[in-house]
Amino acid sequence: MIEVNNISFKYAGQKNLVFDDFSLELKQDNIYGLLGKNGTGKSTLLYLIAGLLRPKKGTVSFDGIETKLRKPETLQDIFIVPEEFDLPAMTLDEYVKINRPFYPLFSTTVLEGCLKDFELTSDVKLNALSMGQKKKVFMAFALATNTKVLLMDEPTNGLDIPSKSQFRKVVTQYMTGDRTLIISTHQVHDVEQLLDHILILSPQKLLLNASVAEITEKYTFEYRTPDNMEDALYAEPSLQGNAVIAPRKEGYAETQVNLELLFNAVNEGKI
């Protein structure tokens, strides 16, 4: 569906390449979590997928068409919610009226449902909203476009505590069918229950590219006492004891992924 083939990319005026001969394949009907330290190229990768940036070498294509060409057929199937954005000085109704004709699968039902969950109305003035409210409105619009690919850069930044659970609710409810969502975030606890697949980036390369099912099948995430650490692959002290990643033993139940622990383990090279 989305193929990133041997791309190289660097920002003008910078010495280091953000990506060098980087490849990745993303399949439909998945919610991907894109994780990485600051400056590893998470947002850059989203912009490259959306066609807002152009790789120096290699190709990024969606259903076989290069996204940098920004063809209407491609753009009506890709929507990005950037970390920072501006909305025009108009009401949401007006915004929807001028933008929805570009998205053939746009659903008013989804929009209304999302707005209801986010406790917003469609007559809000976009330029009078707080950043968190703007984000909720834009995410509601993004979900309503029903594009095959939805890219979200730090979607929970700026959201208050109830809004974070509202966000999880709307994503679970409306990311249905053959849609793919790629969430780039540092707020791992906000999204860990949503994800089907984890991608961890380090400068220029992919450290981990595995489905949650594969991870939970292979590893166990639990809290242990210090005298029970013999098979631990990675451990961190915590208030509940040591947070541990260990190989999952046969016959043992699968545990829920502790994304923060997994991220640290991968970055330390323990997995």
Binding site: L53, I80, F102, Y103
Partner: protein, 266 residues
């Protein structure tokens, strides 16, 4: 391959009009106020003498100069209404073709020019009414001054020659298109949208020196009334082809636009 769909372009025009509504209204009001102030300044506040006793000719010159500058500089302002990278991002991500988006940005400056012309007429009517209220018997429309006192004498002089008039009008048209094409390149190449016209003007001045130097040796690029019909045709074609190449380049730069901050859009 260039993609164009009339229905989608119509949607894009609506999108642009709605998004730029405030900018267009603001532009109209700005020109209206500036024009009105200029008209009042020349016809009421200062005393002009000689062949322009009531200041109307000065108003005409000022208005005519503004129209010419707006006409020539127009394409440099094609992204002027866009606030920054977020607006560009919204445009780039809209499901329409690059060509449709490029055309709609040209439509934006053309619309601004039309609104500026309407603002000129509105300011002219307002100054007329103000003079009537003040009881001035020398009241005139600036538009009529431009037509009768400025264009009229030119039309009745050397340019009245039946043979030369079409050549003059065609030369001016092709020169305006050529200038506009250079400003179109500036608008898509230089990322500082608000000041792309400044950098392009500097470039055009430098280019002007170069063309002036070459002109002595290459007769073919002359567009004046001394050149032979053949030379004139070559010169005309030369500027037109150059302008077309500039527009193609400008479109190519637009297609390659990225949402990262750099000085030029390569």
């Amino acid at each position: 391959m260039i993609q164009f769909n009339l229905c989608r372009f119509g949607k894009l025009v609506k999108w642009m009009l709605q998004g730029d509504k405030r900018y267009l209204i603001k532009s109209f009001l700005q020109v209206l106020v500036v024009m009105l102030l200029i008209f009042i300044f020349f016809t009421i506040l200062i005393n002009t003498t000689g062949d322009d006793p009531h200041g109307y000719k000065s108003c005409g010159i000022a208005a005519f100069a503004m129209v010419v500058v707006n006409l020539v500089l127009g394409p440099a302002l094609m992204f002027y209404s866009m606030e920054g990278k977020h607006d560009m991002q919204a445009l780039m991500l809209l499901p329409a073709s690059n060509f449709e988006k490029y055309l709609v940005r040209h439509l934006n400056w053309i619309l601004t020019l039309i609104l500026a012309t309407l603002a000129f007429f509105a300011a002219d009517v307002l100054q007329y009414l103000i003079h009537l209220v003040l009881g001035h018997d020398y009241v005139r429309f600036v538009g009529s001054v431009i037509v009768n006192d400025m264009i009229g004498p030119i039309a009745s002089s050397r340019y009245a020659s039946e043979a030369f008039r079409p050549r003059f009008i065609a030369s001016m048209t092709v020169l305006v298109i050529w200038f506009q094409s250079l400003y179109a390149i500036g608008a898509t190449l230089i990322r500082t949208r608000k000041f792309s016209w400044v950098f392009t003007t500097v470039f055009i001045i430098l280019l002007g020196f170069l063309v002036y130097k070459i002109q002595g040796y290459v007769e073919a690029i002359q567009l004046n009334d001394h050149s032979s019909a053949g030379d004139y045709a070559i010169g005309f074609g030369f500027y037109l082809v150059w302008a077309m190449i500039n527009y193609c380049l400008s479109y190519r730069f637009f297609c390659r636009t990225q949402v990262i901050s750099k000085f030029v859009n390569f």
